[in-house]
Symmetry: C2
Subunit: 337 residues, 2 copies
Amino acid sequence: MGKKVGKQTFSFDKPPVIINTATVAGPFEGQGPLKNYYDHIYNDNRAEQESFEKAEREMMSNACITVLNKAKITPREIDIFIAGDLLNQIITSGFTALGLEVPFFGVYAACSTSALSLIIASIILESGCAEIALTATSSHNLSAERQFRYPTEYGVHRKPYSQWTVTGAGAALVSTKGKGPKITCATIGKVEDLGCKDPMNMGAAMAPAAVSTMLQHFADTGRAPEYYDLIVTGDLGKVGYELALELASSQGGFDLSKNYYDCGLVIYDPEKQDVHAGASGCAASALVVYGYLFKKLLDGKYNKILLAATGALHSPTSNQQGDNIPTIAHAVSLEMV
Amino acid sequence: MGKKVGKQTFSFDKPPVIINTATVAGPFEGQGPLKNYYDHIYNDNRAEQESFEKAEREMMSNACITVLNKAKITPREIDIFIAGDLLNQIITSGFTALGLEVPFFGVYAACSTSALSLIIASIILESGCAEIALTATSSHNLSAERQFRYPTEYGVHRKPYSQWTVTGAGAALVSTKGKGPKITCATIGKVEDLGCKDPMNMGAAMAPAAVSTMLQHFADTGRAPEYYDLIVTGDLGKVGYELALELASSQGGFDLSKNYYDCGLVIYDPEKQDVHAGASGCAASALVVYGYLFKKLLDGKYNKILLAATGALHSPTSNQQGDNIPTIAHAVSLEMV
C-alpha cells in the first residue's frame, strides 16, 4: 500500500520499476550533445508523414514500439497505456493508443507529462490493479509553434528569452517487478500563477511551480537537496533555471547550484545550435530522463535523481482573453535501491 | 488491494464511495426535465463572465465549491483534484485547480471524463496514497461549438443527427469512507475507430466504443446486463443510442432495450426543446449521473448502475487532415452495497 507523506507527496511501499525506456528525436535534436542516447533520429521533421501533427504521432508510436521491442513485451501484455502531449485534445496520444489497442488513460499536464504519467502508472501498480504500464509523451517544434504561437512560415522574430520546442518522443515501461530505477515517491503539483502573461517566456512562468513542488518535496519527505545526486527540472531553460536557483534560495534557503540542472539546457549545443534560452516541450524532459539519465542510473553514474517536470497550462485562447499563464510541476524520485 | 479482472477491468477490494456530488447547469439545461436535480441554474450563458470560456470556468469552480460545502469539507482536506474538460489544454480544469490550490491531475478523455476521473480517483484511494479525491468535468455549448465546429454567430444549419453540447458542470467527492454509492469496479476503454469522419455525428462515432467497453465489462466480470438496474451511456444521443442497441445485440447477443438509456436523451425535453439528436458534452453524463442518478441511488430507486461514458478523441486539426474520429468509453460500476 502506498501512503501520503506530508501535504503533497505519495510514497510507494513496493516502488514500481522503470524497466526500460525509448526515445526518438528530430533531426535538429539529433545533432545535439545527447545524440548517442536516443534510439532513433529522424532525417526530417516530417518523418515521412503528410503533416507535422502526423509526424509527431509517428514519433510517439515509434517510441512506444521501440520500448516494447527492447523489453521483449507485446502490446497485449500492457495493462494500461498512459500518455499526453501538447496538441489540442492530445491527438498524438489518442491516435497512438488507437494503434496500440490497449486500455488508455489520456492525461494533460503540458510539459510535465513525463512525470505525471510516471506518477499515475506508479499509483495504478501500487493499487494492485495492474502489473505493467506503458507511459509516453511527445512534442514537435512545428506542430507546437503553429498551434501555440505562429506558424514558423511567418518568420516571426524570437525573443532572447524564448525557448525551442523539442521535436521527439519518449516512452517508459513501468513494472511491479524487474530491474531498473525505482519510483520511490512522487510529489503532486498544485497550479501556480505569479502573474506571467508572455507565452514566449515559459521559463519565467514555470520556475515558481518547479520551486514550489521541489520545496514541498523536501518538506514532505524530510530530504535535503543533497539527498539527490542530481535534481532536474523539465524545461525551464536558461531564464527559468536562473530564476529557480534564486527562488529556491530565497524561499527555501537551499543552494541548488551544485547538483541541479534543467533538461532544457542540455539538449542543444549552445555554441553550435542557437536556440536562445534553451529547449522546451514535453519531449525535453522525456529525451533527457528517458534517454540519457535512465542509462546513467543503470550504469551507476547516478543513484538518486529527483525529476521535477514543469508545465504551462495556458491555451492561446486563455492568453488572448487576458489570463495569466498558470503552471504546474510534478516531481518523481528515481532511485537505484 | 485492487486487482485486474479479465482483460480491461479493475476491481476494487475496498470500493471507494461517492459521498457527495454537485451539478450546475446553463439556462437552457435548466428548462429541461431534470431541472430539479441541479444545485444551481444560471440565468445566462455568460454566467456574468467576460467570455464563454470564463463562464465555463465559473461553472466548474462553482460545482467544486458547492460539493465541498454540501459535504462540509474544505479544499485543504482534499488529497487530489482530478479534472478534465473539452477546451484546448483543458483550461477550464487548470484554472479551477488554480483557484482550489490543491494537488491536481489533469486528464483528457473528452466526454468520457466523468467516468475516467472517477476511475483515477478510485485507483488512488485503492492504492492507499489518498483518502479523499475531488473530481470534476464541464462543457459549455458556446465555447465548444466555436472551438470544435463554428461560432454560433455564423448561424450554420445543424444536421438532423447532430447533438447539442450541454452547458454545465459536475463535481463528485470520492472517499475511502462514508455513505453513498460505491465504485466497485471499472472497465478501462481502448480507443476505437470504425471509420466515422463527420464531426457533426458524434453518436455514430462513439457507439462502437461504448458497446466495446460494455461487452468487455460483461465478459471480464461475468455479469449479464440484467445484473444492473440501469445501464447508461454518456452522450450517444438518439442516433448513437439506437446504434448501440443494435451493436450490443449483433456483437454480444444482448438485448439492452429493457434497462439501458443514454444521458444525452434525458437532459432536454424532446417536445419543447428541439436539439435534434439529443445532448452531448462532458457535462451530459455529469449532470445526469452526478445530478439525477446519484440521488436515485441514495433514495433506493436504483441499486446498481453501470455508467459507460463516451468520448470522441478527435480535434479540428485531425479532422481537417482527413483522420477518422477515434473514440473511447470508460465504464464504472456504481453500487449501493
